[in-house]
Amino acid sequence: MKRLYGHIGATLFTVLLIGCGPSTFLIDKAGTSAYFGRNSQFLNKKLCTSDELRLILADADLPREMESDFYRYTCSEEKSYDKVISLYLVLTPVEKLRLKRAFEKHGYEVNRLHC
């Protein structure tokens, strides 16, 4: 039994370790989810084509330049998930929370268990 718990513990630890890589946060709408900033059809359709991201970023009340950089690196030809992660890192904990709340305000579920 102890060995079984050991295996479970090791598996969980590995999963946590792998899951804690650099990332933004998971957003989910209508059963489809993706990491914010990652290049995906879902994100492109939901956030960029509809221009919903502009409204979300405006609601997050981030510094003006960061707001436009988030849009640029998520929706424009300069799309870069690494740059979105980098920008997200620069946000203060309060700003990170405001960004997540802004997504929630627009009907997204935010994975609060992200690393």
């Binding site: 650099p22 330049e65 690494d82 740059k83 980098s86 920008l87 890192l89 203060t92």
Partner: protein, 176 residues
């Protein structure tokens, strides 16, 4: 072949060859793993003095990105300061780059170290030039201005291995 070397010699050669295969890549990795030019930038410190990275060409530079809300960043800073004090005379330059936007938060940590701390309040260097995806992040730049190592996550800079690595880098360039 078998006439020239006995069994034990052949075994020794095999071991030596295998050792060489293991040692060569690791020493190469220590001196030339990345070798990409470090993007230049100019940022000001807390006193408003501008620092241009290119001005430090000729020194080995340790560029340490941090934020006040990053616990690991604060934890590694004393060891980085120790490294700076120990190897400053040999040409080691340590530059802290804070991505905070509140001066009081920066001052609290910056006041505890003796190396310059620059302010990247808009994240221009952090995001656009270096695209750092984890904090703390430490970039090692050699005397030619090339990035030789990127370290993500907290590190004990007072470890013998790291000091040895830095000393090697400082001496290597002195010889040329």
């Amino acid at each position: 072949m078998h006439r020239l070397f006995d069994k034990s010699s052949i075994l020794f050669i095999k071991i030596a060859f295998l050792s060489l295969l293991t040692v060569v890549p690791s020493s190469y990795a220590a001196s030339n793993p990345i070798r990409e030019a470090a993007p230049d930038f100019t940022l000001s410190d807390m006193q408003g003095i501008a620092h241009k990275l290119a001005d430090y060409r000729g020194s080995v530079v340790v560029l340490n990105f941090w934020a006040s809300w990053c616990r690991e960043c604060a934890l590694e800073m004393p060891s980085l300061d120790g490294l700076y004090k120990r190897l400053k005379k040999d040409g080691l330059v340590v530059i802290g780059v804070s991505v905070d936007r509140t001066r009081a938060d920066i001052a609290q940590l910056a006041g505890k170290v003796s190396y310059p701390v620059l302010l990247d309040e808009r994240g221009d260097v952090f995001v656009k030039k270096y695209t750092i995806t984890r904090l703390p992040a430490t970039i090692i730049i050699d005397r030619d201005g090339a990035i030789v190592k990127k370290i993500y996550g907290g590190r004990d800079f007072s470890s013998g291995a790291f000091i040895g690595e830095m000393t090697g880098l400082l001496q290597e360039k002195k010889r040329q």
